[in-house]
Amino acid sequence: MELTRRGFFKATALAFAGSMAYELSTRSAAFAIDGDADDWKLVNTEEYTNICCYCSGGCGVICSVRDGELINLEGDPDHPINEGCLCPKGAAMFQLRNIVDDKTGEIIHNPERVTKPLVRRPGASEWEEISWDQMIQEIARHVKDTRDATFIDKEDGVTCNYTPAIGSMGGSQQNSEEEYLILKVMRSLGIVAIDNQARV
C-alpha cells in the first residue's frame, strides 16, 4: 500500500496512537503541543479525503472523524494542487456542519443549516415541517399535474415531447453522479429549461 504520511495515518492512527510511530509522525519543533496529552485533537480519528466545495481549484481536504462526528478539516498535504493549503473559505468548511456555540463554548451543529424537510403553503408567512414521504408525494403530484396539463407532443409535425412549464436550475454544487441523475430525471420528464451555475 501507499505509505504517504496521510495514508499511513489513516491506516494506523487508531492502532498506533501514543506509540513511537505515531509520535515520530507528529512531533516536531513546529508543533507547540504536548504529543503525550490525552486530548491531542486528532487522537483516535479516521481520516477521509474530500475536495473543497468553493472555487473550481479542486483542492484536497482531509476530514478527521471520531465517533461518527467531524472533528477537524484541513488541507491535504499530499494533494498536488493545494499541497495542504486552503483559502479562508476552504479552511472554514468545518463550520458548514459544526460551529462553536458562542454562549457555551461547546461545538454544536450549525443552527443555520436546514436539516428537516420544510414546506411553505400558499399564502402562508411561515415554514412548516413535513415528512420526506409526504413531501415527495406532493411534489410528484405537482410535477405530474403540471406536466400533463402542459405537455406538447408535436411541433410542426415533429415529435417533440416537452413541457414548457417546468424548469430546473443547478448542478454545479453536486457531484457528477448526481448531476447525471438530476439531468436524467429532468430531461425524462420533458423539461427543456435546464440550466446551472455555468453562467450566473
Binding site: 477521509y48 473550481s56 484536497g60 456542519r97 460551529i99 415527495i136 415529435t159 454544487q173 441523475l181 453562467r199
Partner: protein
C-alpha cells in the same frame, strides 16, 4: 482549462484578464508564483487594481466590457510586427484556408455578411470555406448491424494558399490570414486606448510582453473568469483569446492554453454533463425540432470522417442505451423521440428567459438544486416577482436560501403569493461520496466522512425518491406520454439502495445487453471511450469520462479506480484491472507537473489538450525543457509525458502496436479540417470577434464600427430590462466576488468566521467620484438605475481610477454580490437587482460585468 492549475507554473508570461484569480481562485496563485520564481512575467488587465494586480509585474486598467478591443489590438500588433509563431500558424491553423467570396464585414454598419433582418440572425454559411472537392465520408463501422442507417457527411478538401506569406497568390485576399489581418488593422493602439481608457505606453508594454511568447520556445497563458464571459458578447471574448493563443503558438503546450478559471466547484462537471438547454452530455448536441428532428438527421449533421469527431454517433447511441437500456433498440431509433426536443424558440428556456416565462404564466413549476437564482440572476427584483406566479417551487439546499424564501423578501407580501414551496435539506459535500471535476478537468473522488445531520439527504437519494414516486404515478394513472418516463432505465442500486457507484459505471461506460441490470450485478466496465459503439452493445452516459472508473477487479471499490489515484497506479499486468494500488516511481514525468497518476483528467487522462501542437511538424518539441510529447526518430516512437491528443499508434490485427510518424498525426485531429480555426462558422454572432459596446454604455458611439451593441444581443427587447441611458446613469458598474465569501453567500454567510472577517456588503468608489458625490469612506449609499435601488456601504478607494474614454472622464464602481435578506449572522441587499437581464446569443450568459448606475449618499 485546456491545461490545468499546476501547469500555470510552466508559463513565461501570464495574463490575467477578466479574472481576479489571486482572490477568487486562491490556489491558482500558488502556481503563478512558481512561474514567477522561475522568471516569468505576470500581466493583469482589470478595471480595478485588484489583489491580483497588486502582485503583478504589469497592471493595465481597462474599461469594463471592452476586452475585444484590447485583444483585437493585440492581434493587430502581433500581425503588423510579425510576432506570430509562423510555423505553428501555417501547420496547425486554418490561416491558409480560403473563405468564400460571400464573406464580408462592413465597418460602416458593424454587420458581417449573411445577416437576415427578417430572421434577426446570420446565415453563417456565408463565412464558410471554398471547397475544392468532396469525397464519400462513409466508414466501415457505419454499416454494421445495429447501427442506424444514415448518410455521413462528405469529406471536403478546402482550397488553400501555400503559406501565410503566399501574398502573390491571386486568392491570397480570400485567405483566413488576409481576412484576419485586414479585420484587425482597424484596432490601432490609439483607437484601443480611446475605447478602453488605457495609456498607450502601458498598453504597448503589455502587447510587447505578451507577444514575446510568439517565440517557439516561449509559453504564454491566459487566465480568465466571469469578468471576461459575463457580457452579451462573452463567447466572442473567449474566442478572441483563442485567436491570440493560436497566433502565438500557445495552445496545446505546457504553460499555455486558454484557461477558464471556472466559478463553481463542479461547474466543469455540470457543463460536461450538459445541464444546459442545448447540450447532450459530453458536448454533443441535444435534439431539436429545427436542426435534428430525427435520429437520422442528428447523425447526418455530425462532423465528417476526416476528424475524430466522426465518432460522435457512437457516443450518442451509447448515451441513449444508458438512458433507456433494453428499451432502446435500433428499430425505435434507440428511444431518440422519447427525449424532449428543444422547440423553435429554444433560447427562452435559458436562465434569463425562464423568468420571463414565469412572468407570462407559462412556467408553473421550478426546481433549484443548490442554486440561488433569486440572488444570482440579473434583474433580481423582477425575477422574484416573476417567481410569485409559480404554482410550486422545489429547492434542495443546506440553508433557507433567498430562492426558497423569495416570498419572504422585505418587499414581498406572503399573503398574496400562492406558490407552494418545498425545501429539501441536502447533505454537505463530506456527508456523501462521488466525483467532482475541477477547472483543469481533473475528476477526483470525494469520500464520505460523516452521515448527514438529522434528515438531510444526498441529492442522489432525493432524485431517486422523486423519480420512483413520479414513475409510480405514471404507472398507475397514465398521463401525457407515459412511455417517455416508463421506458427510462433506472437501476443505480447497490443492495437495493440508491448509490453513486453504479452511476459512476454509467459515466465510465460498460457493455450492455438485454439482461444488464446495474442494481443486480456489476457490468463489464469499458477501459476507455474508444470502445464505445453505435450498435447498441455499449452504454455510456458521458463519453469524455470514459476510463475514469474502469477497474473491473472490484467495481464496487472506488479506492482502486483511476478517479481515486493518489500518485498511484493499479498493480496488475494490464494496468487497468487489479486489486491493489501501488505508488508510482515517478509522479512527475518530464518535470512539468503533469501528475498523471493523480486522479483522472478527462479526456483519457490527458493533462494538456491539443498537446500534439507542443511539438513541430516533425514531432520535435518547441521547448525541449517542457516536453508533453516528442517523436523519437531513432526508435520510431512517441515519447509521452502526457497522453497524446492524436492517434499516435496503430494496432495491427495480430496485436502489434506501431507508432504513427509525426506527419500522420495532425495537431487538431478531432476537427473536420484537422486545423484550429481563426475564422469560423461555429458562432452565431460573428466569424471573427468584433468590438461592440456594452448594452448600457457610457459612450455615444462605437469607434470601431457603426453598430453600438452586437446585432445578435439576446433579450434586449424585453420590457423587464428597462435599459438605462448614459445621460441618466453615467457611471459604469461591475460586480465581483471577494475571497471570504462565495457567490450569493448562502454557504459562506452561514459560517460565522467568514462573517467576522468580511461582515458587510460594499461598493468600491474611486476618490474623485466620491468627492464629487460628497461620499465619505464607510457612508451608506444608494446605488440605483431603472431596475432598482440597492443600499450598501461605500469603500472609497484609490483602487479604482477614472478613465478617459473618447475624450471624456468615465467613472467606474464595483460591487460585491454575496448578500441578501436571509441568514442569522449577516444580511444585506441584492446587488443583482441592478444588473441587466440581457445576454449572449451563443451561451446566453447575462451581462453582469458592465452596466450603468448612479450613486447617492443615503
Amino acid at each position: 482549462m485546456t491545461g490545468h492549475y499546476c501547469d500555470l507554473s510552466n508559463a513565461d508570461v501570464l495574463l490575467s484578464c477578466g479574472s481576479n484569480n489571486l482572490e477568487n481562485h486562491p490556489v491558482s496563485s500558488k502556481w503563478v508564483q512558481r512561474a514567477l520564481d522561475a522568471g516569468a512575467t505576470w500581466i493583469v488587465v482589470d478595471p480595478r487594481y485588484t489583489r491580483t494586480a497588486s502582485q503583478a509585474d504589469i497592471y493595465c486598467p481597462i474599461r469594463s466590457g471592452t476586452d475585444i478591443a484590447f485583444y483585437g489590438g493585440l492581434i493587430n500588433y502581433i500581425i503588423e510586427n510579425r510576432l506570430e509563431q509562423t510555423e505553428y500558424v501555417n501547420e496547425y491553423t486554418n490561416a491558409t484556408y480560403l473563405i468564400k467570396d460571400s464573406y464580408n464585414f462592413d465597418p460602416e454598419t458593424g454587420f458581417f455578411s449573411g445577416w437576415s433582418e427578417a430572421d434577426h440572425k446570420y446565415d453563417t454559411s456565408a463565412w464558410g470555406y471554398q471547397v475544392e472537392s468532396e469525397t464519400d465520408g462513409a466508414q466501415a463501422w457505419m454499416s454494421e448491424a445495429g447501427v442506424p442507417k444514415y448518410t455521413p457527411k462528405a469529406v471536403k478538401t478546402i482550397k488553400r494558399i501555400a503559406s501565410i506569406d503566399d501574398t502573390s497568390n491571386p486568392d491570397y485576399k480570400h485567405s483566413v490570414w488576409a481576412i484576419m489581418k485586414e479585420h484587425y488593422s482597424r484596432y490601432t493602439i490609439e483607437t484601443v486606448c480611446d475605447i478602453c481608457g488605457m495609456d498607450a505606453a502601458t498598453l504597448e508594454l503589455v502587447y510587447k510582453t505578451y507577444a514575446s511568447t510568439g517565440a517557439p520556445e516561449k509559453s504564454g497563458t491566459i487566465m480568465y473568469a466571469l469578468g471576461q464571459t459575463q457580457h452579451h458578447y462573452g463567447s466572442q471574448n473567449t474566442r478572441i483569446m483563442t485567436l491570440v493563443q493560436l497566433l502565438l503558438g500557445n495552445a496545446g503546450i505546457a504553460g499555455g492554453g486558454v484557461n477558464a478559471l471556472r466559478g463553481e466547484p463542479n461547474v466543469q462537471g455540470a457543463t460536461d454533463m450538459a445541464m444546459l438547454v442545448f447540450d447532450f452530455p459530453g458536448y454533443l448536441k441535444w435534439p431539436s425540432v429545427t436542426d435534428t428532428p430525427t435520429l437520422r438527421k442528428w447523425l447526418e449533421t455530425q462532423p465528417n470522417a476526416q476528424g475524430y469527431y466522426v465518432n460522435k454517433p457512437k457516443f450518442l447511441i451509447a448515451g441513449l442505451k444508458e438512458w433507456y437500456g433494453k428499451n432502446a433498440t435500433v428499430d425505435n431509433d434507440y428511444g431518440y423521440d422519447w427525449l424532449p426536443k428543444i422547440p423553435k424558440n429554444g433560447a427562452i428556456y435559458t436562465t434569463i428567459g425562464t423568468f420571463e416565462l414565469m412572468d407570462q404564466g407559462i412556467m408553473k413549476g421550478y426546481f433549484a438544486w443548490g442554486q440561488n437564482p433569486v440572488v444570482s440572476d440579473p434583474n433580481a427584483k423582477f425575477n422574484r416577482n416573476a417567481m410569485a406566479k409559480l404554482d410550486w417551487l422545489v429547492v434542495a439546499d443546506w440553508v433557507v436560501t433567498a430562492t426558497a424564501s423569495f416570498w419572504n423578501a422585505p418587499d414581498m407580501d406572503p399573503s398574496q403569493i400562492n406558490t407552494e414551496v418545498y425545501l429539501m435539506p441536502a447533505a454537505l459535500i463530506y456527508e456523501k461520496s462521488g466525483t467532482i471535476a475541477n477547472s483543469g478537468r481533473w475528476l477526483q473522488w470525494r469520500q464520505k466522512a460523516v452521515e448527514p445531520i438529522d434528515e438531510a439527504k444526498p441529492d442522489y437519494e432525493i432524485c431517486d425518491m422523486l423519480w420512483r414516486e413520479i414513475s409510480k404515478l405514471y404507472q398507475a394513472e397514465g398521463g401525457a406520454c407515459p412511455e417517455a418516463i416508463l421506458n427510462v432505465k433506472w437501476d443505480y442500486y447497490v443492495d437495493g439502495k440508491i448509490d453513486p457507484r453504479p452511476v459512476a459505471w454509467a459515466l465510465n461506460g460498460y457493455e450492455i445487453d438485454d439482461s444488464t441490470d446495474l442494481g443486480a450485478k456489476a457490468p463489464k466496465l469499458l477501459p476507455n471511450f474508444t470502445k464505445l459503439t453505435a450498435d447498441g452493445k455499449t452504454a455510456n452516459a458521458i463519453w469524455i469520462y470514459g476510463g475514469f472508473y474502469n477497474n473491473n477487479a472490484d467495481p464496487y471499490d472506488p479506492a482502486i479506480q483511476p478517479v481515486a489515484r493518489r500518485h498511484t497506479k493499479i498493480d496488475s499486468e494490464d494496468g487497468v484491472n487489479g486489486k491493489e494500488m501501488v505508488p508510482v516511481p515517478d509522479k512527475d514525468p518530464g518535470n512539468i507537473r503533469l501528475y498523471p497518476s493523480w486522479a483522472f483528467s478527462w479526456p483519457a487522462n490527458r493533462r494538456v489538450i491539443y498537446n500534439r501542437a507542443s511539438a513541430d511538424a516533425k514531432g520535435k518539441p518547441w521547448n525541449p525543457d517542457r516536453v508533453l510529447v516528442a517523436w523519437d526518430d531513432s526508435k520510431k516512437e512517441w515519447i509521452r509525458n502526457d497522453v497524446p491528443d492524436f492517434g499516435f499508434s496503430t494496432t495491427a490485427e495480430d496485436g502489434t502496436v506501431t507508432h504513427n510518424p509525426p506527419e500522420k498525426c495532425p495537431a487538431f485531429f478531432m476537427k473536420d479540417e484537422l486545423h484550429a480555426n481563426f475564422v469560423t462558422t461555429g458562432m452565431k454572432d460573428a466569424p471573427l470577434p468584433e468590438h461592440y459596446e456594452p448594452f448600457e454604455t457610457p459612450v455615444e458611439k462605437n469607434l470601431l464600427n457603426g453598430a453600438l451593441n452586437s446585432p445578435m444581443i439576446k433579450f434586449a427587447e424585453n420590457e423587464s430590462v428597462k435599459k438605462g441611458d448614459r445621460s441618466q446613469y453615467p457611471i459604469v458598474a461591475t460586480t465581483y466576488s471577494i475571497t471570504e465569501h462565495w457567490q450569493t453567500g448562502a454557504q459562506t454567510r452561514m459560517c460565522p468566521v467568514l462573517d467576522e472577517i468580511q461582515p458587510r456588503q460594499f461598493i468600491e468608489i474611486g476618490e474623485a467620484l466620491a468627492a464629487e458625490k460628497g461620499i465619505a469612506n464607510g457612508d451608506e449609499v444608494v446605488v440605483f438605475n431603472n431596475r432598482s435601488e440597492v443600499r450598501m456601504n461605500a469603500l472609497v478607494t484609490k483602487r479604482i481610477q477614472p478613465l478617459t474614454v473618447q475624450g471624456q472622464t468615465v467613472h467606474l464602481v464595483g460591487m460585491i454580490h454575496h448578500w441578501d435578506w436571509t441568514n442569522r449572522y449577516s444580511t444585506g441587499e441584492v446587488t443583482n437587482e441592478l444588473t441587466p437581464n440581457v445576454g449572449d446569443p451563443n451561451s446566453f450568459i447575462p451581462e453582469y460585468k458592465a452596466f450603468l448606475v448612479d450613486v447617492r449618499k443615503a
